[in-house]
């Protein structure tokens, strides 16, 4: 039985899913209504964020224990919704430029957001699966949205085949967990801790986690990331690399922290180390800015796993702060890349995405070069910016769990990463302009860039504002 109170306790999810359905219905009858659908999408996202804040410091199990609302899920939902809002704000200019201004775009973004919320709030393996697939299938379509461009098609096919392949492993893990514990509900799975020692349960949860490690782009499953991020439309790349990752991390982190046992800390630490190594070292050799940011996103997944491997009280706090900082800086950088990109005349190439094209940007387009510099400094972890505190809290959590070797190597990798971030900055500020182009910036993208840059400074100077949101401490 679904009680009426359940609807009141899941307003953001209802707003997003209802507006997703409405937009696609309206779109199928009125093809010209893109402007209104854009407005509806933004209003729905803002309303969902507004109502989400009402669930802070509350604790509910809703829809017959299928979904759970508490501080952790609300926090991750707000960050994910915020990432979607920022990227949708800037998406309109880009999709008009690329002539893919269809209603389905907004509708699919909303469907994927609904999937993220279901996934983050899930308290049952069935809802985890449904939410994950809702998000992934929307992303497969959005990746291939530039359907006349071979790169976009190819990245969609790669993402689709690998994503569906990994879904098979995830499901096999779910079926083994179900077979051992006899239930799909987290309440029953986590009830009896003796089952965590059962080898079949361990294989099951390992397969389950592999599915999420794939979505996060962690080491042995990271190969799709650069290809898909390069081929997808740039705003979608921004969306996938932030909101998609937040959803995967927000689902798996509580799972890992609850089943925490010190025996597995070493495995997570090694995966984190290798992910940071691969991400940072491979990025050094890249010249396409979308690929550089893709490898930087792999490296960020490695930093996040450092915090997860700590498995202590600080884990979820530090991971969520880093995710917020990461959303601001990574998404800000992708928005600027999407503004600088030029529409292709033929069919094949994304133009103006090589770092050579960023030479002298500070002289021709200072309004783009200054925020991009801020975001890149923040990604590199330079002090008074949010990225610095994000890394600080993650490594602090790891040191609390005696993972000192991991923290030191993470800091070293973070220093290596400065090379490729600063290379772009040097190209922008200290080289003569490659061409005299002045890029047109609409009001919406500049608004989202301003918000991202402002919050990067705000949380860089006052990181305690973020933690002041919660009266009750995390479990």
């Amino acid at each position: 039985m679904i009680k009426t109170i359940d609807f009141l306790n899941s307003i953001p999810l209802l707003i997003i899913s209802v507006s997703a359905v409405i937009t696609i219905l309206v779109g199928s009858f009125y093809k010209k209504s893109t402007k209104y659908v854009y407005a509806v999408t933004l209003i729905a996202l803002i309303a969902a964020i507004y109502y989400s804040f009402g669930y802070l410091d509350k604790e509910y199990l809703i829809y017959n224990n299928f979904l759970r609302v508490n501080n952790i899920t609300t926090l991750f939902s707000i960050i994910a919704l915020f990432a979607v809002l920022l990227s949708t704000l800037s998406a309109k200019a880009y999709i008009e430029k690329e002539e893919i201004n269809f209603i389905e775009f907004y509708s699919l973004v909303l469907f994927s957001t609904a999937g993220m919320l279901i996934m983050i709030q899930s308290y049952n393996l069935i809802t985890v699966f449904v939410g994950l697939e809702l998000m992934s299938i929307s992303f497969y379509i959005l990746t291939g949205f530039l359907r006349k461009r071979i790169k976009s098609n190819e990245s969609a096919l790669k993402y689709f085949l690998l994503g569906a392949f990994m879904t098979g492993f995830l499901l096999f893990g779910i079926s083994l967990i179900y077979g051992i514990t006899g239930s799909m509900s987290y309440a029953n799975i986590f009830q009896d801790t003796s089952v965590f020692k059962n080898p079949v349960f361990l294989i099951g949860s390992a397969l389950f986690m592999i599915g999420f490690f794939f979505k996060m782009g962690l080491f042995p499953f990271h190969l799709w990331v650069p290809d898909v991020y390069e081929g997808a439309p740039t705003t979608i790349t921004g969306l996938m690399s932030t909101a998609g990752k937040i959803a995967a991390v927000g689902t798996i982190t509580p799972f890992i922290v609850y089943t925490a046992s010190d025996n597995f800390r070493l495995i997570f630490s090694i995966i984190a180390l290798l992910t940071m190594l691969i991400g940072n070292v491979t990025a050094l050799a890249q010249s396409n800015i979308k690929r550089i940011l893709a490898f930087s996103s792999i490296a960020s997944a490695g930093y996040i796993l450092v915090g997860v491997a700590a498995m202590n009280d600080l884990s979820i706090k530090s991971v969520s702060f880093y995710l917020l900082a990461y959303t601001l800086m990574q998404l800000g950088a992708f928005i600027i890349v999407s503004l600088i990109e030029k529409p292709a005349e033929g069919i094949n190439e994304y133009r103006n995405v090589d770092i050579e094209d960023y030479k002298g940007l500070a002289r021709t387009n200072p309004q783009l070069a200054i925020p991009l510099t801020i975001f890149l400094f923040s990604l590199g972890g330079i002090p008074p910016l949010a990225g610095f505190w994000g890394k600080y809290y993650l490594f602090y959590a790891a040191i609390q769990s005696n993972l000192i070797w991991l923290s030191i190597s993470a800091i070293l990798f973070s220093v290596i990463s400065l090379y490729y971030y600063l290379k772009i900055v040097v190209y922008m500020w200290f080289n003569p302009p490659a061409n005299g182009d002045v890029y047109k910036i609409d009001s919406m993208p500049s608004l989202s860039i301003l918000i991202a840059a402002f919050l990067t400074f705000l949380f860089g100077i006052f990181p305690q504002y973020f933690f002041a949101l919660f009266k009750t401490p995390f479990k």
Binding site: F129, L157, F165, T167, G168, L171, L176
Partner: protein
């Protein structure tokens, strides 16, 4: 019906069959080069999981596994629609679905 059947055949046989089918699917994904055959292998993996879910569900007398099977089938159908559309879009531009020839994106 399956409940009567289960008194004769133990759970191990169902699970072994499921694991064999799953492995065939994984091997198919890894060695075949045609995008559609790879996709069929993935479907085989999903269906082998359905088999193991149903057998667990039936042996434990619990319905949750069977409910998930319905979701898996619905998701597999949605995935098939999207996947085939992506393959068609690629074929229009490139005139091949051999994944060895789909190699523009690389560093």
């Amino acid at each position: 019906m399956i409940f009567i059947f289960s008194n004769m055949v133990s759970l191990d046989y169902f699970l072994t069959l499921s694991i064999i089918l799953f492995s065939i699917g994984v091997i198919g994904v890894l060695i075949r080069r045609n995008a559609i055959i790879i996709f069929m292998s993935i479907e085989l993996m999903l269906n082998s999981v359905n088999l193991s879910l149903i057998s667990f569900s039936s042996f434990m007398g619990d319905s949750q596994g069977q409910i998930l099977v319905f979701f898996v089938m619905a998701v597999a159908a949605a995935e098939a629609a999207v996947g085939l559309a992506i393959i068609i879009a690629l074929f229009r531009n490139k005139e091949t679905i051999n994944i060895d020839e789909i190699n523009i994106l690389k560093w």
